[in-house]
């Protein structure tokens, strides 16, 4: 290998190593204790039906949106706080689905946080004061990920909790036995 070639390879490798030192994102385990409130949600003001104009994006959105740690913390809370009970794992049930592209009260992270904090008519309870604001933002970050809105490098590659049963290719082959019904 000629020496210019070797030198350029070395430079390339050095660049790669330097880039690897970059932080993907910042993670603050300790949220700001004072002055952090969920978007002003004194009620219908945050709901914008019929395409009326939404207020500018909340400044804190960038701390949580596309943040792998927030999404993953929200994923844990989603199961622990029993969001699954009504929304299932995003597919909906008693509550509306969260994995489609339809957002009754807005799909921006601050709007979702407001929905969780305030509650919404027909069943969605208010979580203000039940969860901390940090947790509500984490949940909102995760809810956005259910419909694939955050970038793929921020979302978790595995589901919370145990995965399903053994794949069918691996299930043992039981010896067939005749049940009572078959004998009759």
């Amino acid at each position: 290998m000629s020496s210019p070639c070797r030198a350029s390879l070395l430079i390339l490798a050095a660049c790669g190593l330097t880039l690897a030192a970059c932080d993907r994102e910042e993670h603050h385990s300790r949220s700001k204790p004072v002055g952090e409130t969920v978007p002003a949600g004194e009620s219908p003001d945050t709901i914008f039906p019929g395409g009326s104009e939404a207020p500018p994006l909340d400044a804190r959105a960038k701390l949580y949106d596309n943040n792998a740690n927030a999404i993953s913390a929200g994923q844990t809370l989603y199961t622990q706080m029993n969001c699954v009970g009504c929304h299932a794992h995003g597919g909906g049930g008693m509550g509306p689905p969260l994995m489609d592209d339809e957002w009754r009260y807005g799909g921006r992270i601050d709007q979702i946080a407001a929905t969780i904090a305030e509650g919404r008519p027909n069943g969605m309870p208010s979580w203000r004061g039940k969860l901390t604001e940090d947790q509500i933002w984490d949940l909102a970050a995760y809810v956005r990920s259910l419909s694939g809105l955050p970038s793929k490098d921020a979302v978790s590659s595995r589901t919370e909790g145990m995965s399903g049963p053994t794949p069918q290719t691996l299930t043992p082959k039981p010896k067939p036995t005749n049940s009572d019904a078959a004998q009759q």
Partner: protein, 340 residues
């Protein structure tokens, strides 16, 4: 100078071997399991040590003899080299020694295994230990459902009674390890492992999580209290009681906050509307020896710090920083302190 340096190196090593009342020590010898392991360990150490010294001894003997050996093997005489009669005896003896050593190890581990299986076959107490990031959920089972009791981060065992501990995990792999009582046993999500312990000495022991399980792995310890059977039953009966009613106005204010605000979303307090299952049970929080899974001793000051800003004491813990008003904080701590 050199001697002084050696001494400074050796002293910390020796001090490291000390342990305050065997709080957390492999040589604690506080349960039947641990003494069996210790016996087994001693047998292995002696057998392997003797063999090692013999091999090294023969090696040095060989090195020392090598000069003469070459002379003796000179083929000039035309005779074949004949092995020394002593050599033959030594080889037979050596083989026999290896055989005896291996047999001793096999027999010792067989008996240790059998006696542990014997203890495990007849448990008198059934406990379910669930590991979470980063705390322990402890459930005492009983044939009488009204005696089934849940607590956290503190395991009480009666001395001399075989206790079967079922080990499960809620999130990632953890490992149950109380060095003074027994060896390690992993807690694996989706699996159920068992360990049976027969404590034989009254005392308080520490069990750190022994499998890296996330940022606060180092602050995930289980306090194990081995006590006499009457004390144990007394403790169990006390833990079955619901939380006492708050009497002072301050504690009452704390009760209202704890049962209506964020605390109750995760924590359970028996006899109150707080019935979360995500975090540790707080019914008799103030009766425990430590706070936040062995992170700090239970005290009023630590409670204040923990309730107000858990993230600064145990960064990454699932307990969020609550940012309460001072009035709320005073009230909540006053209430938590009544949970004896």
């Amino acid at each position: 100078m050199r001697l002084a340096r050696r001494v400074t190196i050796i002293i910390p090593l020796l001090l490291g071997a000390c342990s305050y009342q065997h709080y957390q020590s492999d040589f604690g010898n506080a349960a039947v399991e641990d003494s069996q392991f210790l016996t087994l360990f001693t047998i292995f150490l002696v057998v392997c040590g003797v063999m090692y010294l013999l091999v090294i001894g023969f090696l040095f003997l060989g090195i020392g003899r090598s000069g003469r050996a070459v002379e003796a093997n000179v083929v000039e005489t035309g005779r074949h080299h004949q092995s020394h009669p002593l050599m033959r005896t030594t080889l037979i003896g050596w083989t026999a020694l290896i055989g005896i050593g291996l047999a001793a190890l096999a027999i010792a581990s067989f008996f240790a295994d059998r006696s542990m299986a014997k203890a495990a076959a007849n448990p008198k107490l059934s406990i379910k230990l669930t590991a979470n990031q980063w705390w322990w959920d402890v459930q005492y089972n009983s044939d009488d459902p009204s005696k089934t009791m849940r607590t956290s981060n503190e395991l009480h065992l009666p001395v001399g009674i075989p206790a079967r501990i079922t080990l499960v995990s809620n999130d990632v792999i953890h490992s149950f390890w109380v060095p003074s009582l027994a060896g390690k046993e992993d807690l694996i999500p989706g699996r159920q492992n068992d360990i049976t312990l027969v404590p034989k000495r009254i005392g308080v022991f520490r069990g750190p999580c022994a499998e890296f399980c996330g940022v606060q792995h180092a602050h995930m310890a289980l306090v194990v209290v081995v006590e006499s059977y009457p004390d144990f039953i007394k403790w169990w009966d006390h833990q079955l009681q619901p939380a006492p009613q708050p009497t002072t106005p301050l504690a009452l204010a704390g009760y209202k906050y704890v049962t209506t605000a964020q605390c109750s979303a995760c924590h359970n307090i028996g006899g109150t509307p707080a019935s979360g299952t995500v975090g540790p049970d707080l019914t008799h929080l103030a009766s425990r020896k430590s706070l936040a899974a062995g992170t700090m001793p239970m005290s009023e000051g630590n409670l204040y710090g923990w309730v107000e800003d858990a993230q600064s004491l145990k960064p990454g813990v699932k307990m969020p920083t609550l940012a309460m008003d001072p009035d709320q904080l005073h009230a909540v701590v006053a209430y938590l302190e009544t949970l004896k």
